[in-house]
Structure formats: C-alpha cells, structure tokens
C-alpha cells in the first residue's frame, strides 16, 4: 500500500492514562494503515484499546507517543483550531448513541457539519445520499419523531454528505435491533463499494465485522491479528483462536 492510497495511518502510537501507580497503558506502539476506499473493522474485547485507537485516529484524543496521519496531514501536534477544522472538513463520525441535535430536523442535522463550515452540499451527491439512506419523506422530521434505525441513518447521511476523507463509526449498530443494524451495515458497505468512501468501524460484533473488507484485532493495547475479507465464521474463528477474545 503506497502513501497516496492510505486514508488514515497510526505509527508506533502509545497512549498512557494517569501517572505513577495509576498508570494505564491503553495503546502500546500500535501501527496500522487504513486504505482509501476500504471498509475496516477494529475489533477487540472491552479495554483492548479499540475505541482509544479510533479516538486517536480521529483527532479526538491526543497520543502519548507516535504519530497519526489523516491522508498526508499529521494529526498529532495540531492545535484545537486546526483539529476542529480537520474534523469538520475531512472526518465524519457515526456514534452508537446517534447523537443528533433534537432541535434540528433530519435534513438540518445532515447538513449541520456543512453549515458549520459554511459550505453548500453538492446537490447531486445530496440526492444520492438521501436516496441511499431512504430518508426522502422523513427529512422534515425531528429526531424524536424517528425510530432508532432512522436516526442512525440520519447520522450516517450526516457523515457521508460532506464526503470526508474517512468516516469513523463507533459501534454504529450497538443500539439497534438486528434488522436495522443490518440495513445500516449494508448501507455503509455500499457507500464504500459504490462511492469509494473510507470507513473505519469499531465493533465487537462478528456479524457487523463481516460486512467489512478487513478486520484488525486488538488486545491489551496492541494489534494481535488481521483478517482480510472476513465472514462471521472466520471472525469467530479468529476470535476463538488464541488471545483474541471478545
């Protein structure tokens, strides 16, 4: 994988919380690259550091040592202003809790990052996104009038509409029933396959991971295994073998 086709990259990333006796090492020298136009899952048991890795990659958290790049930009060492701009313009987020603003309509929520940036969404792309997430007749509704699955689809549309370099999804199906979850995952996979979007997803669900192109397994703050073109069975297999326990 050469440099231009890498959307996000971690090199020798260490993350240490606290000091002295209360020291917790969350990441121990993690190096990983996330290819452009690829759908990657980060898996690992609770406390393995998978969420921390994602936060560091997304510029939400600082690293103790090592470097993180989004595209060609080194994230580590950026100030708050630059980080805010980076998140606004080049990164998309999908959270487990949907995190929509209750005061805004679905359409306004989707447009929010672009509004903050003062940019107009590309109308064609907008239509494509809205169509793919199937929210056409729900755009004027507020989050409280939408189901959980619909809310998460709004969140996905919000992440996609600004065409970020990379979307980070943190357990996007954690709060959904399996049918809504499956819809979201197919939809994320479609956006990668058909539109070349890059997505990095943290999950502990082997079925969710099976929608991706590649799975990175974390345990105790370090990468312990990788798996290309996973299926639920191969993921479960990988988890059963050795210390990769979810």
């Amino acid at each position: 994988m050469n440099g231009t086709s890498v959307a996000a990259r971690a090199e020798e990333v260490w993350k240490v919380y606290g000091s002295e006796e209360a020291r917790v090492v969350a990441l121990r020298g993690v190096s990983a690259s996330f290819g452009r136009g690829r759908f990657t899952a980060i898996m690992g048991p609770s406390g393995s550091g998978k969420s921390t890795l994602m936060h560091c990659l997304a510029g939400l958290d600082t690293v103790t040592r090592g470097t993180v790049h989004i595209g060609d930009t080194e994230v580590t060492g950026l100030g708050d202003k630059a980080l805010t701009r980076l998140r606004r313009d080049r990164v998309g987020f999908i959270f487990q809790q949907f995190n929509l603003l209750p005061t805004l309509t679905a359409a306004e929520n989707i447009r929010l990052p672009m509004d903050i940036a003062g940019r107009k969404p590309d109308p064609q792309w907008w239509d494509t996104v809205i169509e793919t997430v199937g929210l056409k007749d729900r755009l004027g509704h507020r989050p409280s009038q939408l189901s959980g699955g619909q809310q998460q689809r709004v969140a996905c549309a919000r992440a996609l509409v600004s065409r970020p370099d990379v979307i980070f999804a943190d357990e996007p199906t954690g709060n959904l029933d399996s049918k809504s979850g499956a819809e979201i995952l197919s939809f994320l996979r479609a956006s990668v396959r058909e539109h070349g979007q890059t997505i990095v997803m943290v999950t502990h669900d082997p079925v969710a991971a099976s929608y991706t192109d590649r799975v990175v397994f974390l345990a105790d703050g370090a990468i312990v295994a990788e798996l290309d073109d996973p299926t639920p069975e191969t993921v479960l297999e990988a988890m059963k073998s050795g210390e990769v326990l979810v």
């Binding site: 708050d80 805010t84 606004r88 987020f93 603003l101 005061t103 990052p113 903050i116």
Partner: protein, 842 residues
C-alpha cells in the same frame, strides 16, 4: 433518606451556590435594613443624650405651630427675659441661662458660597460661655456685637479662620462679622452630629435669629447639687403655668431621638420593600433551580421510590434540601447584611458631616427575619418541584426517560385567571379604593399572572427575537436552544421581567409627572425670570426682600412678586401656607387674571382646598402662624390649584409672623416685547448679595424643579438593581444547567467541527435571547402598569402620558449586555468541554 438527600445536595454544589445566592442577596437586604436602622437609632440616642448632657432642665414656650421632627424645623416661640429671672428664683435652680438658638444661620464661605447642610440644622445662637463638653480651639467667644465665634464644623466647611471677616445670612439680610473664636467638642469632635453653629452676642443673636431683642428661645437650667432634675422641673412647672414646656434634658433627648426614629422606620420600610422585590425575584430563580434538579434526579428519585420510599419521603427529601439551602443562605445573608449595614451607617456618617455612628449592632429582629425569610422563601419556592418529584413513577428508574414536553394549557389558563385577578385588584386600587396596598397587591399578582403566561408567549417571541441572530449557524443553534424548554426560559425571563417592569413603570410615572408639571408651568407661569435656589438642609433658601422692590424699578419689568413659605395651623389643622407681597402682582406674573391685592385680614384659598374643607368666599378662619397671636382671616378669593403656588395665599403682613421672614421665590414678568437677556443680568446683579438663590429664565427654573423626578428614577434604578442582579444570576444558572444537560450534544457539535468561539457564540445567543425576552416583557408590562397609574392620576394633575422610549430602549440594550455577561462563564465551560468524554458512551 436524610443522608441520601444531603449527599445529593453536596454533589450539586454549583446549583446550591447559585440558587442560594439569590436568597443570600435578599436576606442581606432585609437584615442590612434592620442593622442600619438599629445602629442609626442608637446613634441618634447617643447624639441627643450628648446634646442635652449639660442641660438638667430646659424651659421653652409652647410652639405656636408644632412641627414633627423631619417635617421641617420648628420655629421656637420667644420667651421674655423676665421668664429667665422667674426660673432663676425657683428653689433648687443653681443657674438659669437665657439661650437663643434657631435654625437659619447660614455662613458664607471663603469661596463666596453659602455653606450647605445635608440635614443637620445650621444654628445661630447667643454665646453663653463654654459648657462641660465644649473646648475652645482658637481665640475666644464674641464680646462685641461685631464679633462671632463658630464651631469647628463651620470653620472647616467655610474655610475660615480667626481674624477673617465672615458674612452670615440670618432672618436679617447679609451681615458681616469678625470671627474671633472657633470651638470644638471633647474627644476631638468638630460638632455634635454635624450641626453647624454660629455664636453671636446675645442682642445680635436675638435680632438676627428671632427678629426682636429682649427675648430668648430657651432657659437652660442647672440644678443645685443634691436636687434631682425631675423635682426642679416640677417646681418650675408649678411656678410658670402651662404656657411653657418644662422638660428634663433626659426627656428632651428621648423625644428628639424618637422623632428621628420615626423617620428611620420609614427608611427601613423602603429598604424592606426593595428586599421584598429581590426575594420575589429570588423565588423564581429557586423554583427554576429545584425544577431542574428534580428533573435531573428523576432516575435517582424513581429508584428511591422503587426501593420503597413513599411519596411523602420524596417530598421531604426535596424540602429538606430547600431548608438546608435556606438556612445556609440565611446565615450568609445575615453576615453580608451586617456588612451592608455597617457600610450604610458609615456612609451616613460621612454624608451627614461629622456624625459619629454608634457601634454596629445586630438586633434580634435582624437575626429572626433573616432566618425566617431565608428558609420560608426557599421552601415556598421548592414546594411545586417537590410535588412534581413525588409524582415520578418508580418505573422511571428502569427507563431511559425523555421527559415529554408537558402541554401548556393548564399553566396558560391559570396565568390568564391570575393575570385578570391582578388587573382587577390594580383597577380597584387605582380607581376605586385608591389604596396603595391594593395597588401593590395588584402589581404582585399581575406579575405572577404574566409569569404564568410567559411560557406561551415565549414561543413566538423567542422565535422572533432569535431571527435577529439566525444569520450564523451558532446563532441559529442558540436560538433553537432558547426555545427548547419554554418553561425554563419563561421563568428565567420572568425573573428579569419583574425588576425591569418596576423600573420602567416608575420611569413612566416620573417622566409623565415631570412632563405634566413642566407643561403646566410652561402654560401657567408668565414670569420670564425666576429667583430661587436649591434647598439644602431643613431650611429653604431665601433672599433679601429688597430685591423685589429693586427689581420692580428695572425698566422693562412689568410686575414682580415674592412668595414666602411656612407652616401654619388653620382651624386647628397644620398645613403648608404661602404668602405674597402683592397678590395682584403674583397673579399677573402667573397669568391668573381677576385677583386683587389682599388686605391684611384676607386670604386666598385654592378651589380644591376650599371644597375639601367646605369653605366659601367670605368665610372666616383662625390662622396661627409660627410667631405672633392667632389671627382671623376672611377668604377673599379662590383660585385653581395649579394657577398659583400652594393651596393658601396669605397677605404681605402675615410674612412678619412667618418663621422664615424672607421670600423663598420671586417671579419677574417683563413688558411685552422686552427680551429676557436685557433684564436678566440686572436681576442677577440684585441677588448677588443673596448667595443662596440665583436668577434664572423660566425654562432653567422648570428644569431645576423637575430634577427631583430624575433623582427618584435613579434611586429606584439603583435599588432595583439588586433584583435585576438576582435575575441575572438566574440566567447564569439556567445557562450553566443547559450546558451541563447538553454535554453530549455539545460534544457532538465539537466533534463535527464546531469551533470553540462558535460554541461560545451559541451559548451567548441563547443567553441574550432569554435576557432580551425578559427585558421586553418587563418593558411592556412596566409601560402598561405605569400607564395605568398615570391615567388614574389624571385628576391629580398628571395629565400627560410620557413613554420613555429612550430609556426603554436603554433597558433592552442593557439586557442584551447582561445576556452577554451572564453567558461568559457557561460559554467558557461549554467551549472547554472535553469532546471525548462528552461523546464516549457511558
């Protein structure tokens, strides 16, 4: 349960501090008022005890017109010199000294200006030597009629020293003396209570202060050793009969002090009134805080219910929290109140010039009222949230509850009913019963009614206001946030409304009154030049009567009239009266035709006063002036109240029996076609020797007269500032809680690229929208209340309704500023939010 309550209380320190602060400020005001009045009361006790320390018994003639303390200085009735001799012969009298002492000796300082007073009298007296508490600082007492001595208070204020030529205004026009001595009092004091004293020789004092020689105002008696003042007093009373008042020094001290204390209790009531407003506003803040606390503790309370706590226990849990906050706040407020009291007393001492305040004391009333007010207010405000808390279903503990927006129907209906009741009370108070109590109750109830209606009003108004800020994304988000919880926004805004409404209402009334009076004066007074001065101290400024006759001789002057002013007893009732040298001329300067010069036994009365007392032209009435005997006056004419100054007009002869025998105001009307500038300099020249007054044109005179209204507005603004400050705390509180509640949302916004500055702007817009909404309500309600009062006072001469647009705009602008300030801390908090911890799931 108690332990759980206290723990949750401690866990919410921020809210505790903010809601407690409202109570602290209110209680501070209440206890500060009590501490101030108590301390000043004791200050006056000490003062008068000291003042009468060297007087065992004092004999005075009964005053012709008894004047209450603070209603002006009583004019002493002169005692004949023979009374002094009579008293001296009474058994047990060691020494009887004839004293002259009256208010109205005004020293002209080295800068040519009259030395002013902020309340204490300016006494002119005869020199009777040093008594036990006096000390000569320089020189000696006056020995010749051309000499005077002054106390150090005067010497300092006038910047004069022994050997200087000093001019003094008394009942007589300006006289010049040589200053031969300056005295002070023990313990290095310049005066007793800031009183300015000038001592003349006895004949000069008699002439200057009493207008005749051979008379005194008081006989001061020192008793022989072994005699009690009381026994000697009774013997003197027996000897002199009941035309005289014979009192011991102790009695006099107590009486004088009691008079001042009446005035103090009035002051106390005003302070308590404003404290009441502050606490009323505080209730809104506390109510809001507890509602939010209960909402946030839903899960916790539901869990308690699930674990078997009864409704009563839940209510008690909330109320216990209220009692705890109330108690702590009351104690802190009491402490702050003592500080404020000490400050006010110190200020009073400074302002009154040389007053030596007593040690600050804390009366039981201050402690008691602080505790009661603090606890009761807090608990009352917490009752509704407590009831709501008790209705939380145990199952709420298990669910992720999104509290649905409760419909506003009930609260709106209640608001309409309460508002209507308030308006009705106000109407009855203003037009029917004319009762201040009903009016105040009406205002209070109206406020509650409007507050209840506010949630409904807030939706469209906040949306509209918010449009102003919607040009940016943070602005739009802020606007949406402020419309999110109509109840919370409403209560916060309503708290601000109360203070702003009262200030606006008072401004409307004062500006209307000012405008009405000015218009009336402009309409009625035909005189183009007015001679008058600004009053300082109990005695009005006066000028030499000769100015009037001299002014009449200036070419181009059509008529000149002077007005004298004092109090008199007419048919047994004390009232303010005026007199003029020539009613025909006064009527001419006022543009009131049809009045002729009064004869010595005639008076004119206003139509309104005559109607009230059932008098008609031709009826005869007994008038007792401060000096001289009772006279009978026949009503020769009546005039409309606003066509001449005052309700009674006495003839020129009566002025000789006035306490102040010089005119207080003069009117000069010019011939048609004569320019004011042509004559004004000459009139100014004439009053050059009367430094208390100045000659001005009519518009400056009117402006000078209406200055008092602006003073009232300023005072009310300052005093209601506290209520507004509490309301601002409410805004801070609401914002802080909103930020806290929306942690996750803020985190998301930051995650998707909202910058720190944008975050702050979002919170600020929310704050400004709430504040401006509150101020807008306040301005509208206040203008409404003010208009109602002005309309009701139509019959009292307030005919013009003035809506002070400029000031109302200013209040709105200030509210916007307040909104920005209130947002500072919450918005910093919002901007500093750790994005990660805000969005990380659990």
């Amino acid at each position: 349960m108690l332990r759980a309550t206290l723990k949750s209380l401690l866990a919410r320190k921020l809210r505790l501090v903010l809601s407690g602060l409202a109570v602290v400020l209110g209680v501070m005001f209440v206890s500060g008022a009590f501490v101030t009045t108590d301390t000043l009361g004791r200050t006056f006790d000490n003062l008068f005890t000291e003042g009468y320390a060297t007087t065992d018994v004092a004999v005075t003639a009964k005053p012709k017109v008894a004047v209450a303390e603070m209603d002006g200085e009583e004019v002493p009735t002169p005692l004949k010199a023979s009374v002094v001799d009579q008293v001296a012969k009474v058994e047990g009298v060691k020494e009887a000294i004839g004293m002259v002492g009256a208010d109205g000796a005004r020293v002209i300082g080295s800068d040519g200006k009259v030395v002013t007073s902020f309340g204490p009298p300016r006494i002119g007296a005869n020199w009777t030597g040093l008594d036990a508490i006096m000390e000569m600082r320089q020189g000696r007492g006056p020995a010749a009629d051309s000499e005077i001595a002054v106390n150090a208070e005067v010497a300092k204020a006038a910047n004069i020293k022994v050997g200087d030529k000093v001019a003094v205004l008394t009942q007589l026009p300006k006289q010049t003396f040589t200053l031969v001595g300056v005295w002070g009092y023990t313990d290095d004091r310049d005066s007793i209570g800031g009183v300015q004293e000038v001592a003349f020789t006895t004949p000069v004092a008699q002439r200057s202060m009493l207008g005749q020689t051979g008379v005194f105002t008081q006989v001061t008696v020192r008793v022989d050793g072994g005699q009690t003042p009381e026994a000697v007093r009774d013997r003197i009373t027996a000897r002199l009969g009941d035309a005289y008042e014979v009192k011991t020094g102790k009695q006099l001290a107590e009486e004088s002090s009691a008079g001042f204390k009446d005035a103090l209790s009035f002051f106390n009531n005003i302070l308590l009134g404003f404290a009441g407003v502050a606490l009323f506003v505080g209730i809104f803040l506390i109510l809001n805080t507890f509602s939010i606390i209960v909402a946030q503790r839903t899960k916790e309370l539901a869990l308690m219910r699930a674990l078997g706590a009864s409704r009563r226990q839940v209510i008690n849990s909330v109320l216990t929290e209220a009692v705890a906050i109330g108690l702590i706040a009351a104690v802190l407020g009491l402490g702050a109140g003592i500080g404020v009291g000490a400050l006010l007393v110190w200020l009073f001492g400074r302002m009154s010039g040389g007053m030596d305040p007593a040690t600050v004391g804390v009366p039981p009333a201050a402690i008691l009222s602080a505790l009661i007010v603090g606890v009761v207010v807090t608990v009352v405000a917490a009752v509704l949230p407590a009831l709501r808390a008790s209705r939380i279903a145990p199952v709420a503990a298990m669910q992720d509850v999104a509290t649905p927006d409760r419909p506003l129907t009930k609260i709106t209906v209640a608001g309409a009913i309460v508002g209507a009741a308030g308006a009705a009370l106000l109407g009855v108070g203003l037009y029917g019963a004319s009762s201040l109590l009903l009016i105040l109750a009406g205002v209070l109830v109206t406020f509650i009614g409007v507050a209840l209606l506010t949630p409904l009003i807030s939706k469209p108004v906040v949306a509209l206001l918010g449009r102003l800020f919607s040009w940016s994304v943070p602005g739009r988000l802020g606007r949406l946030n402020s419309g999110r919880n109509p109840r919370r926004t409403a209560i916060t805004a309503a708290a601000l409304m109360v203070g702003i409404a009262l200030v606006t209402g008072v401004t409307v009334i004062m500006d209307s009154a000012k405008q009405s009076l000015a218009a009336q004066a402009e309409d009625t007074i035909k005189a183009q030049i007015i001679v008058s001065g600004e009053q300082s101290g109990p005695r009005p400024p006066t000028f030499d009567e000769a100015v009037l006759t001299k002014a009449q001789q200036i070419s181009g002057v059509r008529s000149v009239a002077g007005v004298w002013s004092d109090q008199a007893v007419i048919d047994g009732e004390r009232t303010y009266v005026n007199a003029t040298d020539d009613l025909a001329k006064l009527a001419d300067t006022y543009g009131t035709p049809g009045l002729t010069t009064l004869r010595g036994d005639q008076m004119a009365v206003s139509v309104e006063e005559a109607k009230d007392r059932g008098w008609t032209v031709g009826s005869v009435h007994e008038v007792q002036l401060p000096r001289g005997e009772m006279h009978k006056y026949t009503i020769a004419a009546t005039y409309d109240e606003d066509r001449l100054p005052g309700s009674y007009m006495l003839p020129a002869a009566a002025t000789k029996e006035f306490g102040i025998i010089q005119p207080v105001i003069g009117f000069v009307r010019l011939d048609d076609g004569v320019a004011v500038d042509q004559v004004l300099p000459q009139v100014k020249q004439l009053v050059a020797d009367s430094p208390e007054v100045s000659a001005t044109d009519r518009s400056s005179f009117i402006a000078q007269q209406s200055g008092d209204f602006d003073t009232v507005i300023t005072m009310v603004q300052v005093l209601l500032g506290l209520a507004i400050l509490i309301a601002v705390l409410g805004v801070v509180n609401t914002l802080a809680l909103s930020v806290l509640e929306r942690t996750r949302e803020l985190g998301l916004l930051r995650a998707v690229g909202l910058g720190r500055a944008q975050t702050m702007r979002m919170v600020t817009v929310e704050s400004v929208v709430i504040s401006v909404f509150g101020a807008l309500l306040g301005v509208v309600v206040g203008a409404g209340l003010g208009t109602a009062v002005v309309r009701a006072l139509d019959g009292e001469g307030i005919t013009d309704l003035v809506l002070p647009w400029e000031r109302m705009g200013l209040y709105l602008g200030l509210a916007a500023l307040v909104g920005v300030l209130a947002a500072v801390l919450p918005s910093i908090r919002a901007a500093r939010l750790n994005v990660l911890s805000a969005i990380a799931h659990d």
